[in-house]
Symmetry: C2
């Protein structure tokens, strides 16, 4: 029996429509659109194409998109000045600084300079800390609002909208990046999963991954997760975006794992399309909080 394919395109379309409807309400109420400012220094091709994709999605939902393109020779001071100016600009509700920044610029200092209320992709240490300290779902919490990186948020939303039980299940995450693995671990723990994080020092990796009811791969190694590393019936969320011989593939060996798993996200068409709509939802929610 082959796994059910979790269709990220369909789910992201659904969320995109929900966001667009709320944006229309927001515009009707306030007379302006929830707006993201996207900062880039130089013309890194992946950044240029990602910015274009963000612009298309935001404009389709009638959200505001304001690009700020600094020269590749920009100094750290120039980037920080721009971030501070955007922090103070009431017409901007979300800010994203694209990486990589030019050599010599301290990316951590730039992330730390982002106003946590406008940090559209949840990269600032303050938002990371609020997520890290957040109470489990169902417990009262006085924690301040926070923004979570869009990619793991998209993975969580796929699980929720596919009615995957998270509470009490074993979730194994392969990869400990700040932008996917670590926040995904917190999101799943917040929903009462027993969470483990694997990484390059986990050996043999399969001994751990085979324990997963929910297996998330976010490590950037093409087709690392083989069929014999997955428990039959597991739910597999593949965050990998790799290119092999010009063809996109995930961190999961799809052809093998689809025969073992119970549910699986394909690459492309799984977690990828979710990131964009979750970024839109983050900016919408940030705007709602700022204008309340």
């Amino acid at each position: 029996m082959t796994a059910q394919i979790l269709d990220g395109r369909a789910i992201s379309k659904e969320i995109g429509e929900e966001v667009a409807a709320q944006v229309a309400e927001f515009r009707a109420q306030y007379g302006f659109a929830p707006t993201i400012a996207v900062v880039r220094a130089g013309e890194d091709p992946a950044s240029v194409s990602y910015a274009r994709m963000i612009q298309r999605s935001f404009e389709r939902a009638e959200m505001g998109f304001v690009p700020h393109i600094l020269p590749e020779t920009a100094s750290q001071g120039q980037v920080l000045d721009l971030v501070n100016q955007l922090n103070a600009d009431a017409s901007v509700h979300g800010i994203m600084v694209q990486e990589p920044l030019p050599r010599g610029i301290d990316e951590d200092a730039v992330k730390a300079a982002l106003s946590p209320a406008k940090d559209a992709d949840g990269v600032s240490p303050i938002n990371a800390g609020r997520l890290a300290q957040a109470a489990p779902i169902g417990r009262s919490s006085t924690t301040l609002n926070y923004l979570v990186p869009a990619t793991p948020l998209g993975g969580l939303e796929i699980l929720k909208r596919s009615n995957v039980e998270i509470d009490g299940r074993r979730a194994i995450i392969v990869g400990r990046s700040n932008i996917v693995g670590r926040p995904m671990a917190f999101l799943l723990m917040q929903h009462h999963a027993t969470v483990s994080i694997c990484h390059s020092h986990t050996r043999p990796l399969g001994d751990v991954t085979r324990q997963a009811d929910i297996l998330c791969a976010a490590v950037g190694v093409p087709r690392l997760i083989k069929g014999d590393m997955v428990k039959p019936g597991a739910v597999v969320i593949d965050f990998g975006v790799n290119f092999v011989d010009g063809k996109m593939c995930g961190d999961v060996d799809f052809d093998e794992v689809v025969e073992v798993a119970g549910m699986i996200t394909p690459v492309p068409g799984g977690t990828g399309p979710m990131t964009n709509v979750m970024l839109m939802r983050n900016v919408l929610e940030a705007a709602q909080r700022q204008c309340r």
Copy 2:
């Protein structure tokens, strides 16, 4: 064969002497002592006795201890005003606000108000976020300095000074509190363990704990961890402080587990004595950074 007992009193004495020597150097260089301000509102007996213990340790090491005792009727505004005043006071290098605060005071707001540079027990969301985002040991990092809660830091120090291999080992943490379980997970992951966090929704708990090379219990349930929940030879770190029939005991059933584990911390005399010296070391390091 019974487990080797990890003697927290002996290790904490060693660290206390190291700290005292560095404090003497600091005083010789600057003419004043690294100083903690401890804030309390009301006369909660556990807080009073903990403050007294901190005072004794700090004074023994010739560090400064400044108590600030507000009435039990103190408002949130009064507590925040005091925190802001201490944040700005150059003669104070570390601040600890004791819990519980009186009803109606938002403890999260108080933690968020602490200057991250002076947050002696690493409770602010900014310090939690810097730890959550910190690079693994051995990788270059531009992350800002941060302070980590003293209790998990003490557990880590016991492991290090007992020559326990962490890299590549499976570490299982029982308990997901912000003050022990979560930061302990990050510290161990930073040292390249494969880390899992268990909690009240993990069932059966023993299935997970039996996989631990390093098992940390920080859940506040007396003698929850039984002998058959521990892998033979595992290293067991017990953060529990419980009282049963007036007698202190940990989260680990010591009498059973000592027959199974390879190493184990007793309660009392294990992680408990470490917390104090790690708090001292935190304040010393904070003072060194502030005066540099």
